[in-house]
């Protein structure tokens, strides 16, 4: 497979895409796991399907439509969640289904042959373009900058937002910021693993990382590395077996987590 990587630019794009996606996933996945907003993130991911449909309908880059929808959904969920005491689960359910319904309608109204939407649902890392890479690079830079520049404050917010607010941290701002970053990450991941499988790539790497350390910085770092490992292994499997790349990545991730879980538990028991 290695010589093929040097030969074909689509494989190079796939590798670069994997790395960029893993960076975003490692950071944001750790945040959503620690803040326990995995389902909210999933809601945002699925809502963005509406944006992809809109992109096709208006004839703009579908990923841009997804970006608009994901950010709007993120802002909507936080705002309604803050203002009303409505059950967040209900809210997520509504955004989720409404977004997907909008996507289906937009695509139905798009003139001509219906576009192939399965690559957005299940991802196809082999179709990642140079434009996608540039978009991912910019979004990664934004996410990494935010994490590094606000690390202490983010960590405090994640652990105890009330106390942070009492000492004067602008927690409302941080909350919106986190949700916007989730939206950005979702958009990055749509191309790589697709809407349906996004949650796996956000949650499995941090879950693996947490088996090894209690240090937030290390969890993020290990998550990024695990993400890369999953993507490369999945890519290889999909290339060798001629099967869907998104699903391969996720299956590999799940199996590795299971394996680590069993191994580390044994190790932990020995130590204790």
């Amino acid at each position: 497979m290695l010589e093929a990587v040097f030969k074909y630019s689509f494989l190079q794009n796939a590798f670069i895409g994997s790395i960029l996606a893993s960076i975003a996933c490692g950071i944001i996945g750790t945040i959503i796991i620690e803040k326990k907003i995995v389902m909210m993130s999933s809601g945002i991911a699925h809502t963005s399907f509406g944006g992809i449909g809109m992109g096709y309908f208006l004839g703009i880059e579908p990923i841009m439509g997804a970006l608009v929808f994901a950010v709007s959904a993120a802002l909507g969920i936080v705002t309604i969640n803050r203002k009303s005491r409505e059950n967040t689960d209900v809210l997520i359910g509504m955004f989720w289904s409404l977004g997907m319904a909008a996507g289906v309608l937009f695509i139905a109204f798009t003139p001509g042959y219906p576009p192939d939407i399965s690559s957005y649902l299940f991802g196809d890392i082999l179709t990642v373009t140079r434009t996608d890479i540039w978009i991912m690079l910019v979004l990664d830079a934004i996410i990494a900058f935010t994490l590094i520049s606000l690390y202490n404050i983010l960590k405090a917010y994640l652990f105890d937002s009330e106390f942070s607010s009492v000492v004067g941290v602008k927690t409302v701002f941080i909350e919106y910021l986190i949700f916007i970053m989730i939206a950005l990450t979702v958009v990055i991941l749509i191309r790589v693993v697709g809407i349906i499988l996004i949650m796996a790539l956000l949650t499995v790497p941090p879950a693996c990382a947490k088996l090894f350390t209690y240090d937030l910085k290390k969890i993020i770092l290990y998550s990024i590395l695990f993400g890369m490992l999953f993507c490369f292994a999945g890519l290889w499997m999909s290339y060798e077996l001629q099967i869907a790349s998104g699903a391969s990545i996720i299956i590999i991730a799940g199996l590795i987590y299971l394996f680590l879980r069993i191994v580390t538990r044994r190790k932990l028991r020995n130590i204790v």
Partner: protein
């Protein structure tokens, strides 16, 4: 003496549910105030309104004459520790350092040497210094409670507010915590929400009884009638092992 907290005609509603109604309360500087009342009586709501976490529906809260939230380093807050995720990847030192967080969201903030020294001092004060590298899941309830107090003190506040600091800690820790609060009270104002009226009775200087309305505020001496009003049921004033045991020894007991 100066007024630390001044609450006037405060009401707080959650949608249509009234949590606090027409509360008037003045806390003087260096007061040691215990707030008691039944569950759902608005104790935590009152604390959070003072902290600026909840906006009053009507009425006003003033802390040293200013709105809550505008004065950053006056209040130290010790929340109920049961609400924490004990698996969160953070160690004791980092929790205590949260007390040194800056206001706003400055970019590239790093804790200074002075911040670390203050955190270390507070940890020593609470006897948790040797635990500073521990992840919080590896602490006992009493230890975590002391970590949270150390964090509130790292703010170097003028007023410290504690929400049920002695629930789910053993009696030795409980005693230590109250001894510590008593010592702190020599310099700062202490407000404690508690069910543990037995411990409070030997330490606090004043008492507030809260059940949506404020029924009593004054010296920690209560009669049966007030208690009955607050809790809505007759409660034995003192009896071991009874949840609502309150303060004054009444005749014929024990």
């Amino acid at each position: 003496m100066q007024k630390a907290i001044e609450i006037e005609n405060l009401s707080v509603y959650y949608n249509d549910v009234c949590a606090l109604s027409d509360v008037n309360l003045t806390v003087l500087e260096k007061e040691f105030l215990g707030i008691i009342g039944p569950n759902g009586g608005g104790k935590s709501t009152l604390i959070k309104t003072i902290l600026g976490l909840i906006k009053p529906s009507s009425g006003s809260v003033k802390i040293y004459g200013k709105e809550p939230g505008s004065e950053q380093r006056i209040l130290g807050y010790v929340p109920q520790f049961l609400k924490f995720d004990r698996n969160f990847p953070i160690n004791v030192m980092d929790v205590v350092l949260m007390g040194r967080l800056p206001a706003g969201c400055p970019l590239f903030h790093r804790y200074t040497k002075e911040d670390r020294e203050i955190a270390e001092t507070m940890m020593e004060k609470l006897g948790i210094h040797e635990l500073k590298e521990r992840q919080i899941g590896q602490l006992s309830g009493g230890q975590l409670q002391r970590v949270l107090i150390a964090r509130a003190l790292a703010v170097q506040p003028k007023i410290i507010l504690l929400d049920e600091p002695t629930s789910s800690v053993d009696s030795t820790s409980k005693h230590q915590i109250y001894e510590l609060l008593k010592k702190l009270n020599e310099e700062i104002t202490v407000i404690v929400v508690t069910h543990d009226t037995e411990a409070v009775s030997s330490h606090i200087k004043s008492l507030a009884c809260l059940n949506t309305r404020l029924f009593y505020h004054g010296a920690p001496e209560l009669d049966n009638e007030t208690i009955q009003q607050v809790y809505g049921c007759p409660v034995e004033l003192i009896a071991h092992g009874v949840p609502h045991r309150v303060l004054k020894k009444h005749e014929g007991d024990e």
